[in-house]
Symmetry: C2
Subunit: 350 residues, 2 copies
C-alpha cells in the first residue's frame, strides 16, 4: 500500500514490515523518537508543539474557557467524505462551538495497533493537520502509544480541546425556553450511512459521503450577528432524535418536530429503508440544531443559510411547556413520542 | 468476579453477561445513558461534569495555562500499587506539574472492550475519583466508546488536563544552564518492574509496588519556597536515562550522573539483574528530576525530603558545557555515554 493509492483499501491486520508501526514505536527509545520527530511533529508544526515539554504552555486571551474531549474508534479508518483524523479534529472543534466557544487549541493522542501501515498513519495525520488549519486550531500537545497486534483496531485517536468563550450569553440546555424554535442545519444521517456502506461494501446509485465538517462558519456567523442563541448541539452519536430527547430532559420542556420538514438525501433514505434503519437515530458529523427565540428564527435561518455547511438550514419544530419529551409529527399525520433506542443500530461510526 | 474480591484477578477476554460492558453501552441509546448516569457521573460528581453540555465551561483564575494529554494502555489493568485509573489521573497531573502549573481540571475518555466486567470498570472509576481528590483536580468532561471483543484490550483511558501556571519563572528544558545540579526525587524502576511482575506472574521475596503517585506535594513545596527551579521532568516512559538524554539534547548541554548515587530498591535491582534489564531505562510513575542552580541544590533537597513522595531525594549529577550528551559515571569507576535504546525492554507499562 502506498500513499498514492486511493484511500479506501486499508484493512487491519496487515503483515509487519519496515513500513508498518512496530511495538518499539511506542516505547521510550529510538524508534519512538523518530516517529515523533519525523512523522508526527512535522505535520503539526507550531512553536508550542515543538517545545519538547511535558505540557503545552498557552497564553489565552481570557480565562473563561470551554474544555472537551472525545475518543474516535471509527471502523473503517477511511470512508467517503472523511477519515478518523478529520473526524477527530472536527468532532472536538464542533463540541467547543456548541458551547459557544471559539476553538483554539487541541491535543492529539494516538493508540496505534502494531502493524498499522505508516502510509496510512501519515495520511491520517495530514488529514488532521488540514482540518486543524481549516478550523483555525493549533495541535499543541499529544501522545503516542502502540499496542500489540490483536489488542487494538488499527488506530484510535483522542482529541481534547480548549476554546475561548465569547460573549456573555450562556449557550446551554438550561437556557432553552418554552416558545423557542428548533432549527436544523442540514440533511441528516449521511455520516452513519457512509461509514456503514464503506464497512459493508454496499454500493448506492448516488454515492453517500459523510457530512463530516467544521461548524465554525455557521456558529461564528450566528454569534457575530448577535442572534440570541439559547442552545446549540451537534447531532452526532444517537442522531437527531437522541440529542433532542436529551435536551428536552435537561431543559424540562416538551420538544415537537415535524418529520416532513427534516431533510434526508434520497440515497440515504433509500439505504435506511433497505436496512430497516430510522435516519432520526443515525449519527451526523457536520449537522447541528440551534434553539433560538421564535422572534429571531427567520433571521437565524438566513444567517445560517449564507454558509455552505448550513445552506440547507430549516425550522423543524418548537419547544413548549409540558412533560419533558420529544414528540414527532409524522409525515403520515400521526403524532408519536420518540424514545431512546434500547440497542444501537450502527456501532463504531465515530 | 465481584467488587469485593482482591483486585488482581482480571483477565480479558471474559464471557459476555449482564455484568459486563456491551457494545450497546457505547451507542447513543438507553444503555449508554445508563452507563453515564449510573456508573460514571456519580463517581465524578461535580457541577461542571453534570451540566449535560458538550463541553465543560470553566472560569480559570488566569489565562496562562498548561495543557497536556496522555493515553494509558497498561496491561494488566490492575497491578500492585495502582491501576490504570490512578495512573491516568496522576500521569496527567504530573505532566502539568512538570511545567510548573497547578493542575485544575482533567478529562476522562474511556475506550472499553466489549466484555469488560462492570465491577472492574467501577473499581477503576472509583480509583480515578480518589486520585483526582488527592491531587485537587476535578474531572469535568469525558467520553465513552465501546469496541467489539478482540478489537481493544479491556480498557484504554485518555486523560487531558489543564493547569494554571503560577509565578513568572519559565520551568522548561530551555531554562537549564551549565552548572545546574540534577536532583532525583526517589528510587527508580519500581513501576515498570511491578507491572511486569504482575503480568508475568513473577514473585519476589519483598513485594515491589508501583511508585504511581501525585507529585503535587513536592512540586508545590519547591515553588512555595521560591526555589529557582529551571526544569522538572517525571521519569516515565524510557526511564531516567531517556528523559535526561532528551533534556540534554533540548538544552544543548552535557549531563553527567553518578550511578552509585541513584537509589534502586534491592528487590527491583534483583529483578533487573535476573531479567537483564537496566533500571535506568525502566519507567517510573511517581519519580521526577528537578534541575536547579547549584547554589540552591541543598535547600531544594531539604524541601523535597520533607514530603513522603520525595523523601529519598538525592543529588545525582551536574550539567556542564559540552556536546549534548548523557554521561554515566559508573559504580565500577568507568565513564560511558548513555544512548536511547533501539528496542523497548517493557511494552505496555503505562
Amino acid at each position: 500500500m502506498s500513499a498514492d493509492k486511493p484511500p479506501f483499501e486499508y484493512s487491519c491486520p496487515v503483515p509487519a514490515s519496515a513500513d508498518t508501526v512496530q511495538l518499539d514505536h511506542g516505547g521510550g527509545g529510538q524508534l519512538a523518537h523518530q516517529l515523533l520527530h519525523e512523522v508526527i511533529l512535522p505535520r503539526f508544526a507550531n512553536e508550542i508543539a515543538a517545545s519538547g515539554h511535558d505540557s503545552a504552555m498557552l497564553d489565552l486571551r481570557n480565562p473563561r474557557v470551554a474544555f472537551t474531549t472525545d475518543s474516535f474508534v471509527v471502523n473503517p479508518l477511511e470512508f467517503p467524505g472523511g477519515d478518523i483524523g478529520k473526524l477527530a479534529v472536527f468532532g472536538t472543534v464542533n463540541d467547543l462551538l456548541m458551547a459557544g466557544a471559539l476553538p483554539r487549541h487541541i491535543s492529539c493522542s494516538l493508540i496505534i495497533e502494531e502493524g498499522l501501515p505508516l502510509a496510512v498513519l501519515r495520511r491520517i495525520l495530514q488529514s488532521m493537520a488540514t482540518a486543524a488549519g481549516e478550523a483555525g486550531v493549533t495541535i499543541v500537545t499529544g501522545d503516542t502509544k502502540v499496542v500489540e497486534r490483536g489488542h487494538g483496531d488499527g488506530l484510535f485517536i483522542n482529541t481534547a480541546g480548549i476554546g475561548e468563550r465569547i460573549g456573555e450569553i450562556v449557550i446551554a440546555p438550561q437556557s432553552i425556553r418554552a416558545g423557542d424554535c428548533i432549527l436544523l442545519s442540514g440533511d441528516i444521517a449521511r455520516h452513519g450511512i457512509a461509514v456503514l456502506a464503506q464497512r459493508e461494501g454496499m454500493r448506492f446509485d448516488a454515492p453517500v459521503d459523510s457530512d463530516c465538517a467544521s461548524l465554525l462558519p455557521a456558529v461564528s456567523a450566528l454569534l457575530d450577528e448577535n442572534i440570541e442563541v439559547h442552545c446549540l448541539r451537534d447531532a452526532t452519536r444517537g442522531g437527531l432524535a437522541t440529542i433532542l430527547l436529551e435536551l428536552a430532559e435537561i431543559s424540562g420542556l416538551c420538544f415537537a418536530i415535524d418529520e416532513e420538514r427534516i431533510p434526508v438525501a434520497d440515497a440515504v433514505r433509500g439505504a435506511c429503508e433497505l436496512l430497516g434503519l430510522d435516519p432520526l437515530y443515525i449519527a451526523n458529523e457536520g449537522c447541528f440544531v440551534a434553539i433560538v427565540p421564535a422572534a429571531q428564527a427567520e433571521r437565524a435561518l438566513a444567517v445560517m443559510r449564507a454558509h455552505s455547511v448550513s445552506e440547507q438550514s430549516v425550522l423543524i419544530g418548537q419547544v413548549s411547556e409540558g412533560a419533558p419529551a420529544l414528540m414527532l409529527n409524522a409525515a403520515t399525520g400521526t403524532r408519536r413520542q420518540l424514545r431512546r433506542l434500547t440497542g444501537q443500530p450502527l456501532p463504531r461510526i465515530c
